[in-house]
């Protein structure tokens, strides 16, 4: 498998505080990769570096091209959908308008309509609430909206930042089911940041564990799941 996304010795931080101290990882075309680790390990910063939300050195390549100095809008237009921490829902807008923001750059009308049908099939509740303000949605519904909107961008890679945060276990299950379906049916690669390591590892082909801005452990998803010392010391279950 060729790497769709590659990070090579990435250093990044906010002002004088550096957070990442040389992170290297890769996401294969169509693969699911988890990024695990404690709070403050640099998971969110890694995702933000990829879409240009934070200054970095080293190299980040997407589909063979370096993303150095590229503004966020351009990176995203190349096919990376980033569902940020806190979901990035525009609460002043309706559900429908949020979805439209996902598809507004696409010019393939009939395909867009198909994607809308698919999204509403995955998340029927969004169809029911199309005309309502996004601020009226529950946390789980907002997460669904964020994933649906990312899907409508028809990305090659989705970056998901803690999709389970603050959600009931049942809702988490169904959202991960859908992420898995999306990955399998549309060949969208996923880089998943999660606190909930157990559920993340179940669906990942490989995983990286970050510890204070460095990759501490890297291996296949099942390998990490089975390795008790890794589980105990890094994943906490």
């Amino acid at each position: 498998m060729t790497a769709l996304l590659e990070l090579e010795e990435v250093h990044a931080g906010y002002g004088p505080t550096s957070v990442l101290h040389g992170v290297s990882l890769s996401v294969p075309e169509g693969g699911v990769v988890s990024l695990l680790g404690a709070n403050g390990a640099g998971k969110t910063t890694t995702l933000r570096a990829i879409t240009g939300g934070v200054r970095w050195t080293g190299d980040i390549r997407f589909a063979g091209r370096s993303l150095r100095r590229m503004p966020t809008e351009e990176i995203v237009r190349r096919g990376i959908a980033h569902v940020p921490e806190g979901r990035g829902i525009c609460t002043e807008l309706t559900v429908d308008e949020n979805l439209k923001l996902g598809s507004h750059l696409r010019r393939d009308g009939p395909e867009v309509r198909k994607d809308y049908d698919r999204v509403f099939e995955y998340f029927p509740v969004l169809k029911e609430r199309r005309r309502l303000s996004a601020s009226t949605l529950s946390g789980g519904e907002q997460q669904m909206l964020a994933v649906a909107r990312a899907l409508l961008m028809r990305p090659r890679l989705m970056l998901l930042d803690e999709p389970s945060l603050g959600l009931a276990p049942m809702v988490v299950r169904s959202i991960f089911e859908i992420i898995r379906t999306i990955n399998q049916t549309s060949n969208v690669a996923v880089l998943l940041v999660e606190q909930n390591a157990r559920i993340a590892l179940e669906m990942s082909s490989s995983a990286y564990v970050l510890e204070v801005g460095r990759v501490a452990v890297h291996g296949a998803g099942s390998e990490l799941q089975d390795n008790e010392s890794v589980r105990r010391s890094y994943l906490g279950y």
Binding site: T51, G53, T72, E73, V76, R77, A81, H82, P84, G88, I89, C90, T91, E92, L93, E97, K100, L101, G102, H104, L105, R149, M153
Partner: protein
């Protein structure tokens, strides 16, 4: 009663003028959380440009859209050249910059055209039409129609087009919008262009009533502030409703409250600002500012 209706109607006409300028203020406030103190002066400059076109023989109805287009372009240039380099500066810095911009534009207009008041041709006949005892001037009807159409166009643009959608998203959620591929910085420029064009409408409409001179908009901007604050500084609809309320209120107060006509009219505008800020700081259509911690 007839007099009352006449006052209300001409109040709506001036209210439409305040509403246009108030909407311009709201558009920029939404985009950058900042009141653009140069909005009135930018409208005045655009009106002078329109005046230059008309005195060179262009008819009003051609000069009007041409002026709006030029004002739109001018707004974008101002955002790119003056505002963008300091985009991330603290709000107070930006406020001072817009104040400086106001002085600069005012001085520029004075330098080019001088400070002598000029008559600006009205596109509407000064006759009145008798509607069942209420005399309605064509001027008032014309101003209401023009501002009504412009405001409707802005509404349709913002609410029913993709550009409008990305404009609103960029204004409220710049970070999230960037992640969806919206060119946020250009959207801000577009917002400035739009505000500048809408403001120019108020200048072109008020110039035939007042005389055209560099300080022409300085009272109008106070009423526009009052309208924007009354409606809720973040609400485009509020700006329009606020503008109409302020226009009618001032007209009625001038006629019925002893001593308010003339010089004290401006005080009514300021009184509205103060009363609204005390009683209902978010205005009629504003939402209470909620921050999640």
């Amino acid at each position: 009663m007839q007099e009352f209706l006449q006052l209300v109607l001409s109040g709506i006409a001036t209210g439409g003028i305040y509403a246009s300028l108030a909407l311009a203020l709201v558009l920029i406030y939404n985009a950058m959380g900042l009141v653009n103190f140069a909005q009135g002066e930018m409208a005045m400059l655009a009106t002078f440009v329109g005046y230059a076109l008309i005195t060179r023989g262009m008819s009003f109805w051609i000069a009007f859209p041409v002026t709006l287009v030029l004002a739109f372009g001018g707004g974008i240039v101002i955002q790119r050249v003056v505002i963008k380099p300091v985009e991330k500066a603290p709000v107070l810095t930006l406020v001072i910059i817009t104040l400086g911009l106001a002085t600069l534009v005012n001085g520029l207009a004075g330098f080019i055209w001088g400070y002598l008041p000029r008559t600006f041709p009205s596109p509407f006949s000064s006759d009145s039409v008798d509607l069942g005892g209420v005399f309605v001037s064509y001027r008032d009807v014309g101003v209401i129609a023009v501002t009504g159409v412009v405001l409707l166009c802005v509404y349709l643009l913002l609410q029913h087009t993709t550009v409008g959608l990305t404009l609103r998203a960029a204004a409220h959620h710049p970070e999230a919008s960037r992640l969806l591929g919206v060119h946020v910085s250009w959207m801000l420029a577009l917002g400035w262009g739009l505000a500048s064009a809408v403001g120019a409408v108020s200048g072109m409409m008020v110039a035939p009533v007042l005389f055209l001179e560099p300080n022409m908009m300085q009272t109008i901007i106070i009423y526009a502030f009052a309208a924007a604050v009354l409606g809720g500084i973040e609400s485009p609809l509020g700006a329009v409703v606020g503008g109409l309320i302020v226009g009618v209120t001032i007209n009625l107060a001038g006629a019925y409250l002893p001593g308010v006509g003339g010089d004290l009219q401006l005080a009514v505008g300021l009184a509205i600002i103060i009363v609204v800020l005390i009683l209902k700081p978010n205005g009629l259509f504003g939402q209470a500012a909620v921050r999640r911690v």
